[in-house]
């Protein structure tokens, strides 16, 4: 694969080995993957397939053991802890299954905190206000997470994930803690963000219905991409 292909994620021969006690556990066994800018990709696989490990490596939460990984033209194999922190701050945004909002802050402050960490000291842009309208949480920003429904919390988490205009939004089982109605709302919103704003999204899920919202589905099993 050429480095000048224009892909936003380029992965070749990625391996990840964890040391558990005295045993080496190979979580990823040679992954090759390209993701184009503006693509909505779903990675599907059972527990232990390595999809979360792949998610963590692309998100700069853990380093790869071997192989080549480039995210938005940054070589992740060459990044240290500080470099991966910078990647999380500027290049990727996360949406988690358990929402992971800070319970002590209001929804608005959770989003403002992400903007502060991202070094964005300006006020909200018109584009972001449009996103808040799209997500339907403009009226809920003064509430704390405990006062919001699961669907509302996940929509706040999506807003937080894209507030710094990341190149890639990484969503880890974003509907895993939601009922079917809220799941459909959140998935539709992710697709809207992708289609209207051109946001690249990489979503991990074990739910085929959720994966169907994506442009492309990648299946993983035993640390490899199988289709």
């Amino acid at each position: 694969m050429s480095k000048s292909s224009g892909s936003i994620i380029e992965i070749q021969g990625l391996r990840k080995v964890f040391r558990v006690g005295k045993v080496d556990v190979e979580a990823l066994r040679g992954i090759d993957l390209d993701v184009e800018p503006g693509e909505f990709l779903a990675i599907v696989g059972p527990s232990g397939s390595g999809k979360s490990t792949l998610f963590h490596i692309i998100g700069g939460l853990t380093p790869p053991t071997a192989g080549a990984v480039r995210v938005a033209n940054q070589d992740l194999t060459a990044l240290g802890d500080a470099g991966r922190t910078r990647l999380r701050k500027t290049t990727v945004g996360f949406v988690f299954q358990k929402f992971n909002l800070l319970p002590i802050l209001t929804a608005g402050d959770n989003i403002a905190l992400a903007r502060h960490i991202g070094g964005n000291r300006d006020g909200e842009s018109d584009r972001f206000r449009e996103v808040l309208e799209l997500l339907g949480i403009s009226e809920r920003l003064k509430h704390k997470p405990s006062e919001l429904s699961g669907g509302e919390q996940q929509r706040v988490a999506i807003a937080r994930g894209i507030v710094n205009h990341p190149a890639i939004l990484l969503a880890d089982e974003p509907t895993g803690n939601l009922d079917s109605q809220n799941s459909q709302t959140v998935l539709a919103l992710l697709r809207d963000l992708n289609e209207r704003m051109g946001q690249t999204i990489l979503m991990i899920t074990h739910n085929p219905e959720a994966a169907a919202y994506a442009h492309r589905i990648v299946n993983m099993r035993d640390g490899r991409i199988v289709s």
Binding site: H56, G59, L61, T62, D81, A82, T85, R86, L87, R88, K89, T90, F94, F96, N100, L101, L102, P103, I104, L105, D109, A112, L113, A114, H116, I117, G118, R160
Partner: protein, 364 residues
């Protein structure tokens, strides 16, 4: 935004915050109370010494500024000193301890009145007999006794002939001869006070006395009262230094435990911050600012509590312990508390900053 996050964290766990502030406040109070007691009691001693109205104090050889537990000077020295040029009045006193920090003073009331202008009585009056005692207002209140009542002291009962305003020499005053007889010090004195004809002659008289009485500490009252300070009492200074170290250790331990627990409780939140791209220094800053705010609040609490300890002493033991409020020590005590707090927060802060984001996010 960091401040907001820190404030919200503190508000979110009010019991932990309140307890930490209170516990940090304790060593601050200890320091301020100790320093206040030192300064208050020394200032009170100086004020009472000035109340004698003397110009010169002659003390026995080998005595320190504040200790006078024996009566080694001969009373005959008084006549010699009275005969000195420019000396117009001379009176001797004897001091004897009755409790840990409580002393009784024997005086020749006529001589003492001439020098000091006399006690200002709130109730009762001067000695009527050899077993009479004059108390100052604070000591009378502490013992719950009024003029005409009796108190037990030195293994006998004394009639309280008068209660006087404080600020003159001593809190408990007995006839000199009675105290000398009672303690087996007949004809002996602890201290001699002199009055001279003009302030201009004080130094002349002191120079003359020093030449004649080798080894006797002889001070002008101005010099004597100015020397009664913490800086001239090395034992007290050392004690304050020890208490300062103890305060730092307590502050360190309280904040260490508090922040260590807080970091454990917030493992997941720290993981969230790191997933958002918070750097190690960002996380470190949050923890350190929180520790600083806790110690700042603890310092204010400690200052408030030092007013409480002063009020308590004034209410319960006004004659035994006099605590001053020493505002110039507020920033010092605050700085010491903050030093302990920052030291205590360092390890939890570093361990929070170094947390693995994946493990932290998985923390339940």
């Amino acid at each position: 935004m960091i401040l907001k996050l820190v404030f919200e964290n503190l508000k979110h766990r009010p019991l932990r915050t309140g307890l930490s502030v209170f516990l940090i406040g304790i060593p601050v109070t200890l320091m301020l109370t100790l320093v206040g007691l030192s300064q208050g009691m020394l200032a009170d001693s100086a004020r009472r010494a000035r109340g004698v109205g003397a110009d010169i104090a002659v003390r026995p050889p080998g005595t320190s500024l504040i200790s006078l537990s024996t009566a080694p000077m001969s009373q005959k020295l008084l006549d010699k000193l009275r005969a000195e040029p420019h000396v117009t009045l001379a009176t001797g006193t004897m001091v004897h301890p009755v409790a840990a920090v409580t002393m009784v003073t024997g005086v020749d009331l006529d001589e003492f009145n001439k020098m000091s202008g006399g006690f200002k009585f709130i109730g009762g009056g001067p000695f009527q007999g050899p077993e009479d005692v004059i108390l100052d207002e604070f000591y009378a209140r502490q013992r719950g006794v009024k003029a005409g009542g009796t108190i037990e002291m030195l293994n006998r009962k004394w009639r309280v002939c008068g209660v006087a305003e404080p600020g003159k020499l001593a809190r408990i005053v007995l006839p000199l001869a009675t105290l000398q007889d009672l303690t087996g010090n007949s004809g002996k004195l602890s201290q001699i006070f002199l009055k001279v004809d003009s302030p201009a002659n004080v130094e002349t008289v002191i120079a003359s006395l020093r030449a004649q009485l080798e080894g006797y500490p002889i001070y002008s009252m101005e010099e004597f009262t100015s020397l009664i300070s913490v800086n001239n009492l090395p034992e007290l200074r050392t004690f304050i230094q020890v208490m300062t170290v103890v305060s730092v250790i307590i502050g360190f331990a309280v904040v260490f435990l508090s922040m260590y627990t807080a970091v454990l409780q917030r493992t997941r939140e720290i993981g969230i911050l790191k997933s958002l791209g918070a750097s190690q220094s960002y996380v470190l800053l949050i923890i350190l600012i929180e520790a600083l705010l806790l110690s700042l609040a603890g310092s204010f609490a400690g200052i408030g509590l030092s007013y409480g300890s002063r009020w308590l002493m004034m209410k319960l033991i006004p004659a035994s312990l006099t605590q001053a409020i020493v505002p110039e020590w507020w920033p010092i005590a605050g700085f010491i508390a903050m030093t302990g707090a920052v030291l205590g927060a360092l390890y939890p802060a570093f361990s929070a900053a170094r947390q693995d984001p994946i493990e932290a996010l998985a923390y339940e």
